[in-house]
Symmetry: C2
Subunit: 179 residues, 2 copies
């Protein structure tokens, strides 16, 4: 029964996302901005290619989390990019997904709501594992909360490097070794 | 785990469907057929409204079956229309879904493959139940198979009326009483 509802719920969110894109096309078309419409379509195609790449990583839990992130009422907008395709990743996916979910929750509690908060994730496959760059830009209100979270993140097999940490930016590099 | 994969699979199908629409818009835009693009967008909006109506019927099993019908490799194309919205339907959904799924399978085995085969479903709510019109247009090869299926459909609480039955059309009216 739950599975049945899922299809409906997933399509409801997907439909909402796509209708926003269609409205953007329609709005610019009505203003006769044909070149802008073409740019929007190009952007849409690039985004869907990224979605395909993410889905093909064979990290279903992690991919699902990322794909539905903007459906949850987060205080930040998520973007992502898969830098490299090819072989599927053999890493500790549960740990990565659990950490990422916790990071989203922590970020959600730490940032100034209703601001221009953005998190971008870049995913890069390496010969000995995978590297994930998490780059947040926006307004962080509760620095302490994030500090505590990051301090507690060291007890896993992932390697975490803080590249940048201020009130307006948090850049993390997470390396997951080959499992 | 299954649920996680579901999101990815559903989005894969949905993305494919939407990219087809975007390609249609792009193709016509490249040919500078602006009015045609506007018509396509209007059609897309109407289709998504129907999808919303179907999802709101509170018949999750039946709606899921219909929503994913064109993802399966059927020998016919499915369209649907919800004639009336409003109160949710209180009918024997399992029976309706089981019958519809069996009907799809029977039709799939009975029609001439790779032809212009179309099935349209109209859903109409009534004060004492709901009426479903199934209208197939195309080429039916195995009339006997459908006759057998229809003969076996009488042992349920649904009322089935054959409105039209020839090699090129099969029109059925199914009434499901209020549960």
């Amino acid at each position: 029964m739950e599975k049945e509802w899922d299809i409906i719920e997933v399509l409801r969110h997907s439909r909402h996302d796509w209708l926003n894109k269609i409205q953007l096309i329609k709005g610019n078309l009505d203003l006769n901005r044909i070149e802008r419409v073409k740019e929007i379509i190009e952007q849409i195609v690039i985004e869907t290619q990224q979605e395909t790449k993410l889905s093909n990583l064979k990290l279903p839990q992690f991919a699902s989390l990322v794909l539905r992130a903007n459906w949850d009422q987060h205080q930040f907008q998520l973007e992502y990019e898969v830098l490299d395709e090819g072989e599927s990743l053999s890493i500790n996916e549960s740990q990565l997904t659990y950490w990422t979910e916790s990071f989203f929750a922590c970020l959600n509690d730490s940032v100034e709501p209703f601001q221009d908060n953005h998190l971008s994730i870049s995913i890069e496959k390496l010969s000995n594992g995978a590297r994930f760059f998490f780059d947040f830009r926006g307004i962080i209100k509760k620095i302490k909360l994030i500090e505590q979270f990051l301090a507690g993140s060291n007890q896993t097999e992932m390697e975490l490097i803080i590249r940048q940490f201020s009130e307006n930016e948090l850049a993390l590099e997470v390396f997951m070794p080959m499992a």
